[in-house]
């Protein structure tokens, strides 16, 4: 379906999943089941519920970052010390990560990142579009294996496969959580 201003206005469902994030508990349970104990993030609205889940568990360490590439170096250090970690961020942060992605690649380390997408599905903010559209190719060019979840049902199986691939095969793996899943950000409706 071609997205037009008219179809946006006529289709409240395009925003309907925002802040519901019913997949968040499932991802949190996967972190627990697979011993992913250190969670770093540059916050995104799409990760709000997952971040809250992780922060409410005293057995997990959570680290707020000032910029996304810090999380890659942090994950490398955690792996050196024997701990599994994951990074949560928005697609706008992918460009910040490019050079730091050489660290897990050269050192044969696992690296897991969950990326909430902007700039793709009914995006309102033109400044999000270049990085959002570039996200899969830039990650792949940086040596990251890219998975994608477009529906709630796909999130947990995709994240679990990414966890297994990242840690068992020591690869950098990104799961893109599509804007269709997260919900297009609705500035007009007053959403944060």
């Amino acid at each position: 379906m071609r997205i037009t201003d008219e179809s946006l206005a006529a289709s409240p469902s395009i925003h309907s999943q925002q802040h519901v994030q019913e997949w968040a508990e499932g991802v949190y349970e996967l972190f627990k089941a697979h011993n992913v104990e250190l969670i770093s993030f540059v916050p995104d609205g799409g990760h709000k519920r997952l971040i809250a889940c992780c922060q409410s568990d005293p057995a997990l360490s959570t680290v707020a970052l000032t910029t996304e590439e810090e999380g890659i170096a942090l994950a490398a250090g955690a792996f050196l010390g024997g701990k599994r970690s994951a990074l949560l961020m928005q697609s706008s942060g992918v460009g910040n990560c490019i050079n730091m992605l050489s660290l897990p690649r050269v050192c044969n380390m696992p690296f897991l990142v969950l990326v909430t997408m902007r700039g793709e599905w009914g995006e309102f903010n033109p400044w999000q579009v270049p990085m959002g559209q570039g996200t899969p190719v830039i990650l792949e060019a940086s040596g990251v294996i890219v998975y994608r979840a477009d529906s709630v049902e796909e999130v947990c199986p995709t994240v679990e496969a990414a966890i297994l691939l990242a840690f068992q095969s020591r690869r950098s793996v990104a799961v893109l959580l599509s804007q269709k899943l997260i919900g297009a950000k609705n500035f007009m409706g007053g959403d944060k």
């Binding site: 250190l38 360490s61 680290v63 707020a64 970052l65 000032t66 910029t67 590439e69 810090e70 999380g71 890659i72 170096a73 942090l74 994950a75 490398a76 250090g77 955690a78 792996f79 050196l80 010390g81 024997g82 701990k83 599994r84 970690s85 050079n99 730091m100 050489s102 660290l103 050269v106 050192c107 044969n108 380390m109 696992p110 990242a166 840690f167 068992q168 020591r170």
Partner: protein, 196 residues
Amino acid sequence: MSLLNRRDALRALLCEREKMIVVAGLGSSAYDLASCGNEPLDFPLWGAMGGAAMVGLGIALAQPEYKVLVVTGDGEMLMGLGSLATIAAQRPSNLRIVVMDNERFGETGQQHTHTAVCTDLAAVAAGCGFQHVRTIRQAGELEALRVDLHALNDLLLAVVKVSPEELPRALPPRDGAYLTHRLRSALLGAEPALEA
């Protein structure tokens, strides 16, 4: 007053090192570490500029029983200034950062860094929330720092002002997978190091 020699300073700080893990930022800091030997608990970087302190944070959080020392240069630290805020907010009691500040980008032609002009990295760290910061200019101050690297039970950043003279290259291993496995084997044991 003559500036400190960076290798003499690092050698003094690593005297009686015991089981301290040392992460070295790329360039001169990694060469300095190599000049002190080539230990299993060394993790010298050859890239990932701006990431040395965060690698140290990751190790420090994963291995709270070990002291973790990050040795890096002013150029590398300037690229990761935000990480000082991230680290201060975590306040890992086993992490120490020593910036060997020669006020130069030494690998690329000795261009002045911002610390040569106006930036005080110890003040930046203090502003980010580090409770223990100091700037060292004299050899006589190194021993007290060395003692604190072991004895202080809190996050610490020290800036050591060093001479910009270029020293002979002492190259650490460049194979990242080897360096990773070597450190993990030392920390986790040979067989667990093969797992993730």
